[in-house]
Amino acid sequence: MPLFILPQTALEPFMERLRTVGELHGPLRGSDDAVRFSFLQTGDQPDLTAVRSLLPPKKYLLAPDETILTYRPAAGYQTPAHETGPLILLGVHPCDLAAIAYLDRQFLADPPDPTYAARRKRLILIGNSCTPDNNCSCHQRPSALSTNCDLFLYQQDNGFLISVETPHGERLCQSLGDLLLPAEDQQLPPSSRSNFGLPLPAPSANELDAHLPDWQRLADHCLGCGACSVCCPTCSCFEILEFGGLDGCSAERLRRWDNCLFKSHSEVAGGHSFQKDRAQRFRYRYRHKYRGYGQLQGVPSCVGCGRCRAQCPTGLDLRPLAEYLEKERP
């Protein structure tokens, strides 16, 4: 894995060069002091030391609310066209990169989701090292820092150490050649995070207990606001809505982010529900975040980004319960 050095002073020309390759987006601090991944115009200063953005980069892959199919009498069934030019995401943290790897496993699997696949194909990912805060739990979900990106920037005094992760990244580096310095005998910084997404042992008996009082305690304090799934980089549940046009024959199918803490998430025809109360739904959420489900059973989907804790209005945190349950395991 080749290494280079990008001096701080070369960051601006580096970004200008990236703009010639594709549309450049990165973490931008707004006038409200919140950080969001946004389009970076010339002159915009991305905040590469921000702890986390409000929404994760999943918004570039799965839009919160989007039309996925239309029917018009003349045109028949049509799926929406997608942008094709490269889109460069600069400054993606290791947790968010791991989250994209997780989503890839879900949405690029057989059969791939066409919308996701089209958007994923145009993404060029440039990772960025970070300093975790108290809401982060990436040390419990460790990974090689540079998982799943084309280039990775390690913050250093006066600049960045860049590691080249893919052939794509290599081509990018070639075009940046004159801005980069050779890294000589520099080593990659050691990482305590070496296993994002590794399978876990089987769940403890307790976890399966729908009547554990802790589920109810969480449920009592949950406002059902939905923030925790909206902001989670690996939450990808959606609902499908269909709308009939006024001409009586055209129609539109929408996909919209959902949250398993909502009653409707587990409701089926006839008003039956698989998770009747919010306590059961918390167990379900816990099991997906810490245990994985479906084909990814045993692969935790929490990458430890801390957004759900930072954004929960009542400060709910699944970590203490997860630690307790993990200790209980036989």
Partner: protein, 250 residues
């Protein structure tokens, strides 16, 4: 496809919901082609209830004996009755009240002159069976059009259950409740408005009425922790819906 026959009427309210429908200017020609607006006093005469309607869309709360009678008549003549807007669904601003007894209020306003009728303003469901609700003060244009699209096909609208917060977070807004300590009713209010107000930095007023799974008890505790007294919070809650179950957690 046969043209559904509709009745659209307003009780005690501002006519804003019906106007929102009339404001769908681009779609009006198509609507007129596809739907028979048989009874729609705000938009066209004659104004007599006759025959049978596929659906009646009723705006406003019911606050007089005369309105109750009109409502029952519409119900009797319609296969479906749909509450249009927050007043019809929850009571809305027309039912805004404090705890002063009605008798006292009547004395203050009308002196000793008797009142012809004296119903407590109520949402439609207190009087007749309501088949579907399209909430909002007023409802969003796309919701009205979706409702008409559903009625064209003989369907009822599917109602979302997520609160305004979900819309708000989807728009990547900074939370006004959490980060600015504002009294935002987003967690308690039914979404679907794309978080119009919080997106402009204005806390949610609750104009779409309660979300079905609102955790009222927890939200009240949270507002209280943020320094709002019970009077202020209750006052805000009641602006669009007079009856909240303060103990509801699910």
């Amino acid at each position: 496809m046969s043209r559904p026959r509709l009745a659209i009427a307003g009780l005690t309210a501002c006519s804003g919901c019906q106007l929102s429908l009339l404001n769908c200017e681009a779609e009006l020609p198509l609507l007129l082609e596809r739907i028979e607006f048989q009874f729609f006093p705000l938009a066209c005469s004659p104004v007599r209830i006759e025959g049978c309607y596929d659906a009646a869309l009723v705006e406003g709360c019911c606050s007089t004996a005369h309105e109750a009678e009109l409502l029952r008549e519409l119900r009797d003549h319609s296969r479906l009755l749909i509450a249009l807007g927050t007043c019809a669904a929850w009571g809305g601003v027309a039912t805004l009240r404090n705890d002063t007894p009605r008798k006292e209020l009547r004395r203050q306003v009308y002196g000793r002159h008797p009142l012809p009728d004296d119903d407590v303003p109520r949402p439609l469901s207190a009087i007749v069976k309501v088949d579907a609700v399209v909430t909002g003060c007023p409802p969003e244009k796309h919701e009205l059009l979706a409702l008409l699209g559903d009625l064209l096909r003989g369907n009822l609208p599917v109602r979302g259950t997520a609160p305004v917060c979900t819309d708000c977070r989807m728009r990547e807004n900074l939370c006004l409740l959490q980060e600015r300590g504002m009294l935002c009713l987003g967690p308690l209010t039914l979404g679907g408005c794309a978080a119009r107000c919080p997106s402009l930095g204005v806390p949610c007023e609750g104009c779409r009425g309660p979300a079905p799974e609102a955790n009222v008890a927890e939200a009240l505790e949270l507002y209280c922790q943020n320094g709002f007294d019970a009077m202020t919070v209750t006052g805000r809650l009641r602006r669009f819906c007079p009856e909240w179950n303060h103990d509801q957690r699910a």
